[in-house]
Every structure is written in structure tokens, then in C-alpha cells.
């Protein structure tokens, strides 16, 4: 391959050729680096599928945990996960959206607002296990809620509230200010503007952020270990004060056993968990696309 000569002499030509070669090498390097992540994802998914697919059956979903890997199932964990995530949604959603509305529509430009905002950003970076410690000391011990579904859901609510607040703020900020101005111009009060104009427009975005935050709650293990969810539960929870386990915790308890059989059940459990996550994310994507189409 020859490059056009610059007409500035052989030295400049050689230099130019080198620069172009370096450029190509760097482009390939960048493309290669991007592949690392994609390939790692593919290997992980294929590995888990190969290990877990043979154990994937209706029995897996309808059996409780067992000392025998061939009889073990995820029934209690699946029910626990559904309980915990639903309850977390009920607790965290209204609080977070209210906080976001306050920060975007009501808050004065004041140091206290900035402090709240900075605090929320910092909370989003606190390791989840620290929330577990908070849940253990506050809900399990101080409030006497014990190792219950309610303790677990409250702990996870604290964990995902900053995430939902930030997503909801972004969705509210995306509502064009002209809409608000028009409503104010017609004599609407602040709450009427929020209730009838801003919220309906921001809702798909808020819901997308909420679903993504809830899918994080669905995958959390460490904070629930702290608040005392247990790996071996042979019943499904029937109330807020019942003991519980969740899918990731059940998977952890199987992974930490040395027998190969339990590793296979763990892989099958992971497939169930990933299936749930995929469903939630698909819903979020559909919502986001509808939102884009409307704005």
C-alpha cells in the first residue's frame, strides 16, 4: 500500500507514513479494548447457560431448598424476591418521586438545597453493605422488626432511593419549561402545574428509572445478609413479619457449597434471576421508547 507523497521530501514522507500507521494501530487497539467487555459478557452468559440449562425445569420453580442438590429448587427464594422487590417499590417510589419534585419544582436556590443534592449524590456511592449495617442496627435491632420481609424491604428502599430520586429529577428536568409557563399563565398554582402538566409528561422517564433501580434491588445480596435473610428457608413468606430468602442469597448459599450438584442448581438459579432482570429491563426499554416518541 502506498501513500501519496507529500512532495516535501523522503524524510517528511517517512514521518507521515509512521503517523498514519500509528493511527491505525491505535484505532485497532481501541476497538480491541471494546471487545474485551463484550467478549467477557458473552463468555459469562454462555458459561452460566451451559452449567444451568440442564437443571432448568418446572420442578426448579416449584421445589424448596433441599440438602440434596437434585431436589433443590428456588420456590422460597423466588417468592421472597417478589415480596421484597414489590414492597421496596411501594416504599421507595412515592418518597423518591416526592423528593425529586421538591428538588426540581419547589426548592429555592439555597445552600440547603445544594446540601441535599450533594448528599443524594454521595449516598448513591455508598457501598451496599453499609446500608446493610444501617438496616441491621436500625430496623432489625432498634425498631425491633427482626429478620423480617419488612426489614429487608426498608433496607433496600434506603439503598435505591437516591437512584430513583436522581432518575426522577432528570425526567422532570426534561419537561420543557414552556409547558409550565403556559400553565402558570392560565392561573394554575404550583401544585396544579406539577400534578397536571409536569408529572404526566415525566412519568415514563420516572418509571424507567424506578424499574432500573428495582432491578438493582432484585440483584442485591449483601445488605440482605446483614439484615438476616437466610439461605435455607422451606416456606414462602405470607406476611411482612415473616423470615425470607431471596434469589441472589439462595444462589450464594449454593455457590458456597463444595458439591458440583449445588453449583449446577446455582447456575439454574442464576438463569431464573437473569430472566427476571431481562424482563424488567425490557419493560423499561419499551417505556423509554414510548417516551422518546412522545417528546
Amino acid at each position: 500500500m502506498t501513500l501519496p507523497a507529500s512532495g516535501l521530501g523522503p524524510d517528511v514522507d517517512r514521518h507521515d507514513t509512521r503517523r498514519r500507521m500509528m493511527g491505525r494501530a491505535f484505532a485497532s487497539l481501541c476497538a480491541l479494548a471494546t471487545c474485551v467487555g463484550v467478549v467477557a459478557l458473552a463468555v459469562l452468559l454462555v458459561d452460566v447457560t451451559l452449567d444451568g440449562a440442564p437443571r432448568l425445569s418446572a420442578d426448579l420453580l416449584t421445589s424448596f431448598a433441599s440438602r440434596f442438590p437434585e431436589r433443590a429448587g428456588v420456590k422460597a427464594a423466588l417468592a421472597g424476591s417478589v415480596w421484597i422487590v414489590s414492597l421496596t417499590a411501594v416504599i421507595a417510589f412515592p418518597l423518591s418521586v416526592s423528593a425529586a419534585i421538591y428538588l426540581e419544582e419547589y426548592a429555592p436556590r439555597h445552600w440547603s438545597t445544594r446540601a441535599i443534592q450533594t448528599n443524594i449524590a454521595n449516598l448513591a456511592g455508598v457501598p451496599s453493605i453499609v446500608y446493610g449495617i444501617l438496616g441491621l442496627a436500625l430496623f432489625v435491632r432498634a425498631l425491633g422488626l427482626d429478620r423480617s420481609v419488612l426489614s429487608g424491604a426498608l433496607t433496600l428502599s434506603l439503598l435505591i432511593m437516591p437512584v430513583i430520586i436522581m432518575a426522577a429529577q432528570e425526567a422532570i428536568r426534561a419537561v420543557p419549561p414552556t409547558i409550565r409557563e403556559a400553565a402558570y399563565g392560565l392561573g394554575a398554582t404550583r401544585w396544579q402545574v406539577v400534578r397536571h402538566q409536569v408529572l404526566p409528561m415525566a412519568l415514563p422517564g420516572i418509571l424507567t428509572g424506578t424499574i432500573l433501580a428495582l432491578s438493582r434491588a432484585l440483584g442485591e445480596t449483601a445488605p440482605l445478609i446483614m439484615v438476616g435473610a437466610v439461605g435455607f428457608v422451606a416456606f414462602t413468606p405470607s406476611g411482612l413479619s415473616d423470615q425470607f430468602t431471596v434469589l441472589p442469597l439462595q444462589i450464594y448459599s449454593w455457590v458456597s457449597r463444595p458439591q458440583q450438584g449445588f453449583h449446577e442448581v446455582a447456575a439454574a438459579g442464576i438463569l431464573v434471576l437473569l430472566g427476571l432482570l431481562l424482563t424488567m429491563n425490557a419493560v423499561a426499554i419499551v417505556l423509554r421508547n414510548r417516551y422518546r416518541a412522545r417528546l
Binding site: T34, A40, I116, V130, I225
Partner: protein, 330 residues
């Protein structure tokens, strides 16, 4: 010529009807009655106050974390001197002869984080350059969410992957490797934090104004030179912010590390050995029976406090860099 009279609310909505003879008990309602506005104002203020309470509640979470951690940590340091905690090289809180040196746990956390950073920072950064500078928009729209899936996979799944895939692979190369080892944990944590680096850095790179790129091209620079000598330096504070945030995530990571790196507090630099991180200790101690009020129970809080302070400091620094970056290109 008649001047238009001022419109009053209600005018033009319904045909003018002769006013109904006023009820003797009730005075006629004036549409401009200001007391109605007062009532409306009261409701408005109530709503505003309720919303403020919800926003302020988020600060209560931080207060809660700090109070809870401080209370038990103070109790811990009443029994174990701070110097022993920070300088003793052994962490043996459950042995007969107790040692409370947090160094082995910190070293474990930092070793895993360093290994993860060694993988994720260059890979994430180069991916960010590829996505922002080289990839066609269509390709970027596919690749970026694909990479972000890595951050959405539950960490317990990474633990499984480390134990059943990465560790056996390492042992094929280095047969003396422990079943639980820091290297395997580092690799999966590194994979996990790639999207933190790539997505945030890409946002920073794309925020660099195009005029800078065009200026450099105009001077005859190649794409490599534009990317590495103009765009990356211009986005540097945003990139640094993403690096710090990623490392802070690696330090706070719990399940993958607990499953893959082991539970052996071990002050070592050999990544093929079994170690224990701060997070793994917290999980191990809370899985066992740790009655409230005992010293072992308090170690949980002392270690969690250490972890909280380290990650908080990193997050604050990261946000400072991010704020500086945002200011530059506003």
C-alpha cells in the same frame, strides 16, 4: 365607542343567565372572592411542606448511617486502641488471643481494587475513546448499552463466574493457586467496573466541543493525535472522576469478592493466595452468630466505618473533579 369591560372568570363560558335569587342564608359567591385563594394557598403550602419533608428525609439516611456507625465504633475503640487497629498486622478477632489490626483487610480490599483497576481503567478508557471518537453512531448505540449490561448483572453472578470459570482458568496456568484467590476476584470485579469507566469517560469525551477537534485537524493532526493530545486532555477531569468512582466501587464490592477471594485475613502481595477484604469480613461475621453488644459485633461497625470513610472520600473527590469538568464546558 364602548370600551371592552374587564373579563371576569366565568364570562363567556356559560350563557349569561339571570342570577338565581340569592339564598338568604348564604351570601352570593363572588368569583373574585380572595378567601378562596387563601384556602388554595393553604393546600399548596401543605403539599410543599410534605414534599420538602421527603427530600429532607434523604439527609436522614446519611445521618442514620453516621450515627449508627459512630455509636458502635466508639464502643469498639473504648476496648481496642486506635493505634492497634491501624498498626497491628493481624486480624484475628475470634481467636483466643485476639488481634484487631485492620491492615490485612485493607490490604485485601486494595489489592483486589488495584487488580480490578489495572484491568478496567485501560480497557474502559480505550473503549470510551473508541465509542466517542471512532465508532459510527449506529455502532455506538449498540455497544454502549451492551457494555452497560455488565454493570447490571448481580454481583453474586460474578462470584459464581469467578469460582467456576476464572479460578480454574488461572489454575491451569499457575497450578499452585489457592481455590480462593485475589486474582480471580480482581478479574471479575474489573469486568464489573468497565462500564463505570467507559460510560462516564465517554460522556466526558463527547462533551468536548467539536471546534477543538476541528481546530486540531485543521493544523494537520491525525485522528490519533486529535484523540490523545486534544480531546483526552480536554476531558481529563471527567475521566479522572470516572476512574476514582470505579475504584471506589471495587473497594465497596462485596459478593463477588466474598465468594472468590476467600475468608483468610492475610497480609500478602501475592494475588494467587487466599485473602479477605473488609466487605468479605463484614459478611462472614454477620453470617455467624454475633450477639449484640459483644466485641465481635462491634468489629462489624469499626470495619464498616473504615470502608464508609474510604469510599466517601473517593466519591467526594470524584464529584469535585466532575464539577470542575462541568464548569469548563458550560
Amino acid at each position: 365607542m364602548t370600551l371592552p369591560t374587564l373579563l371576569r372568570p366565568g364570562d363567556g363560558v356559560a350563557p349569561a343567565v339571570a342570577p338565581v335569587s340569592p339564598d338568604p342564608g348564604e351570601p352570593p359567591r363572588d368569583p373574585l372572592d380572595l378567601s378562596r385563594g387563601h384556602r388554595r394557598n393553604f393546600g399548596e403550602r401543605l403539599i410543599a411542606a410534605a414534599l420538602f419533608v421527603c427530600a429532607a428525609a434523604s439527609t436522614l439516611i446519611t445521618v442514620g448511617v453516621v450515627v449508627v456507625l459512630l455509636r458502635e465504633t466508639v464502643g469498639f475503640f473504648a476496648e481496642v486502641p486506635l493505634t492497634a487497629f491501624l498498626t497491628d498486622t493481624r486480624w484475628e478477632p475470634m481467636f483466643q488471643e485476639k488481634h484487631f489490626g485492620v491492615l490485612p483487610l485493607m490490604a485485601g480490599s486494595f489489592m483486589v481494587a488495584a487488580g480490578a483497576a489495572a484491568l478496567a481503567l485501560p480497557v474502559g478508557m480505550l473503549s470510551a475513546i473508541f465509542l466517542s471518537e471512532y465508532a459510527a453512531p449506529r455502532l455506538r448505540r449498540v455497544l454502549k448499552p451492551l457494555l452497560e449490561i455488565l454493570a447490571g448483572i448481580p454481583t453474586v453472578v460474578y462470584g459464581y463466574f469467578a469460582l467456576t470459570f476464572v479460578t480454574p482458568a488461572i489454575r491451569m496456568v499457575f497450578p499452585q493457586t489457592d481455590i480462593f484467590n485475589a486474582a480471580s476476584a480482581s478479574i471479575v470485579v474489573g469486568i464489573m467496573i468497565i462500564p463505570t469507566v467507559s460510560s462516564l469517560s465517554e460522556d466526558a469525551l463527547r462533551a468536548v466541543p467539536d471546534s477543538l477537534r476541528q481546530g486540531a485537524y485543521g493544523l494537520g493532526a491525525t485522528k490519533l493525535e486529535v484523540s490523545t493530545r486534544v480531546v483526552v486532555p480536554a476531558a481529563l477531569s471527567g475521566i479522572v472522576a470516572s476512574f476514582i468512582l470505579a475504584v471506589s466501587r471495587a473497594i465497596g464490592e462485596t459478593m463477588a469478592v466474598t465468594i472468590a477471594a476467600g475468608n483468610l485475613p492475610n497480609l500478602t502481595l501475592n494475588p494467587l493466595e487466599s485473602i479477605q477484604t473488609m466487605t468479605a469480613y463484614i459478611v462472614q461475621a454477620s453470617l455467624g452468630d454475633t450477639p449484640q453488644g459483644t466485641l465481635v459485633y462491634r468489629t462489624l461497625f469499626a470495619v464498616a466505618m473504615t470502608l464508609f470513610l474510604i469510599t466517601l472520600a473517593m466519591n467526594v473527590v470524584s464529584q469535585w473533579f466532575l464539577a470542575r469538568f462541568r464548569e469548563e464546558y458550560r
